[in-house]
């Protein structure tokens, strides 16, 4: 497997708006890579720069080892599935899918053969004479995918392609896209703001936040070893404690947080450093009396039943909410009782904290 797309030191600036900041990203051949982030994080801009609709303000983008800055979108061997589908309203489904081949001046009978194949692949047989406005959202989506795939691109760019579909259809299409990708062995670069979608489909996820690539890794890495506070909170639910390292013995770390102290286990941290502790609700434990090393307490306020899972909401003295998750049927503390939360120290994820505002607040609370 080689590097199919290499993004090096790319910046994109609109006026005073720095949308993509010094982005370095390498996409492996045949992988399903997701650019994940909330709106305005620069993920779509990144995709559009690869497609050629936007030009980087600085930096370089290579596809198959070749610099593409000088290439117009129509000269690039990548194709895009648009969020709005962008189907040509005045062309039939057949003509929409055939468009790319027509532009390449492929002979008519070959066009016909390949379009039919493609329509079969995306299960749209019999729709060739219809127009886009006669199709449902899911069908339009398939046309958009077929149209982009017919050119046999090396890389397929997908810009929130499932955003307009309802939940059920979206789940179905997620699996179908994954199936297509495996079958055709084409590199997919997929943009979404839906973390669940990203976790389900991707080989690797690149999380972007305010124009910066926060973390790049497999879904498991991203979920279990978030590198920034943003990643920890963005992916899945978590409980966050901002604090300051009070003591390090071997790999065991004691952290002073507001209203108490907690334990964690990690390497690469220094005494006195400000950090964030993230602990997933399902890893959260509790006791009726303080556990050694932990000195925070909380009051159980509410239960929420989500099918097979029960969420318990407890409130810390500072008003922050604490989430504990258990499978339905497992024991949970009584409402209004005081509990002492704790966890296995290896379950806590320790994150270097760069947030200046938190520093200041900590200064006052923990040390003051």
């Amino acid at each position: 497997m080689g590097h199919i797309v290499e993004i090096e030191g790319v910046n994109k600036i609109y006026g005073t708006n720095h949308v993509v900041k010094d982005l370095n990203l390498t996409v492996e051949e045949g992988e399903f890579l997701t650019l994940l982030g909330s709106s305005g994080c620069g993920k779509t801009t990144t995709l559009r720069m690869i497609a050629g609709f936007e030009e980087p303000s600085s930096g370089s983008i290579k596809v198959e080892g070749e610099s593409i800055e000088e290439k117009e979108p129509y000269e690039r061997n990548v194709n895009t599935v648009f969020q709005s589908y962008a189907l040509f309203p005045h062309k039939t489904i057949f003509d929409n899918i055939a468009y790319g081949l027509k532009m390449k001046k492929v002979p008519k009978d070959e066009i016909k053969k390949r379009v039919m194949e493609m329509m079969e692949l995306v299960q749209l047989e019999g729709f060739e004479k219809r127009y886009p406005n006669q199709l449902s959202g899911g069908q339009k989506q398939r046309v958009a995918i077929a149209r982009a795939l017919i050119n046999r691109p090396r890389v397929l760019l997908l810009d929130e392609p499932l955003g307009a579909l309802d939940l059920k259809l979206r789940k179905q299409m997620q699996l179908e896209l994954k199936r297509l990708q495996k079958k055709l062995n084409i590199t997919f670069i997929y943009v979404t703001h839906d973390q669940e979608e990203a976790l389900t489909m991707s080989d690797r996820i690149a999380i972007m936040h305010e124009g910066i690539l926060d973390q790049l890794g497999t879904p498991t890495e991203i979920y279990e070893k978030p590198k920034t506070k943003f990643v920890a909170t963005f992916i899945g639910e978590t409980n966050i404690f901002d604090g300051c390292i009070a003591e390090i013995t071997d790999q065991d770390i004691t952290i002073n947080v507001e209203n108490g102290a907690v334990l964690g286990k990690a390497v690469g941290f220094q005494n006195g450093e400000y950090i964030t502790v993230s602990i997933r609700p399902e890893k959260m434990k509790y006791a009726s009396a303080p556990v050694e090393g932990f000195s925070i307490e909380a009051k159980v306020r509410d239960y929420i039943y989500v099918g097979s899972i029960v969420k318990c909401i407890a409130v810390l003295p500072n008003g922050n909410e604490l989430k504990i998750e258990r499978l339905a049927g497992e024991a949970l503390p009584e409402l209004e009782t005081t509990i002492y939360p704790y966890w296995n120290r290896e379950d806590a994820v320790l994150i270097h904290n760069q947030d200046q505002v938190v520093f200041q607040a900590m200064e006052n609370i923990v040390l003051g």
Partner: protein, 266 residues
């Protein structure tokens, strides 16, 4: 960067092209403005005799010019008002009610829009003379209302396309009668369409030459006055008045547009 320079070149070419088109559009305007400051007093007022602003004062002594402008304003205001009322009621009525002959009225509405103005002008002339309505202010207003009504209707109709009928039902449910509902709910919602239609009607009315030309009788409107003066050369005071009118409309537009923008921001 080749791609960037290419894009830049294309952009420059576009700017040059657009500038040329704007020059084309504004060239006669500049002729008017310059000629309004020509000190010449002899017909056909073409040779340049030096700069003066006297014409902007003198034009207020030219009573026939002023009265023609007065006529134009009266006709434009009255026919815009009438066309707006008739058009708004008509558009709402045709949207809400089904009745026999509706499609005929609908078809008739397109006639003043597409047919050459001269045909509308002579048809009104013949009918006015047939039923012996003396040509003058009345016939001018009737004619202007005729070609303005469809434009008001189309503008209001565009607004009605996104109209939610249930807000009227809600109003009546809350105790308002039909008339109150019309003034409290229907009218304010349609206001932008009505205003757009009225503005268009006003513009069409003050600039109309052809239709007025056939139905005016002895009443001269400003465009007709200009037409008359063209034979002997357009005097600088006519240019001066045109310049003033242009200036006034531009100021008015700038004021209303910036006002509209502000409101939209809220």
């Amino acid at each position: 960067m080749k791609r960037k320079t290419k894009a830049k070149l294309q952009k420059r070419l576009g700017i040059v092209f657009c500038s040329l088109v704007y020059m084309f559009l504004f060239l006669p305007i500049s002729v008017i403005v310059v000629n309004s400051m020509n000190a010449t007093t002899s017909k056909p007022y073409l040779s340049w005799k030096g700069f003066t602003l006297d014409w902007y004062v003198k034009l207020f002594d030219n009573s026939s010019l002023l009265s023609s402008f007065g006529n134009t304003m009266i006709i434009a205001l009255v026919s815009t008002l009438l066309a707006t009322i008739i058009g708004t009621l008509g558009a709402v009525g045709m949207y809400k009610y089904k009745f026999r002959g509706k499609s005929i009225i609908d078809g008739l509405l397109y006639i003043p829009v597409v047919i050459p103005e001269i045909v509308l002008g002579i048809s009104l002339l013949t009918i006015f003379s047939k039923v012996s309505i003396p040509r003058g202010m009345l016939t001018l207003i009737l004619a202007h209302v005729t070609f303005c009504v469809p434009f008001v209707i189309f503008n209001v109709r565009a607004r009605l396309d996104g109209y939610d009928n249930s807000i009227e039902e809600a109003s009546m449910d809350l105790g308002a009668n039909r008339v109150t509902t019309f003034f409290e709910i229907t009218l304010p919602v349609l206001a932008p369409g009505i205003a757009g239609g009225a503005l268009l009607a006003f513009t069409l009315s003050i600039d109309d030459v052809i239709i007025s030309y056939f139905v005016n009788g002895q009443t001269k409107t400003y465009p007709l006055k200009v037409m008359e003066s063209i034979k002997s050369g357009v005097a600088p005071d006519v240019n001066a008045l045109s310049t003033l009118i242009l200036l006034a409309t531009v100021i008015l537009v700038v004021l209303t547009q910036s006002d509209l923008l502000k409101r939209r921001e809220k």
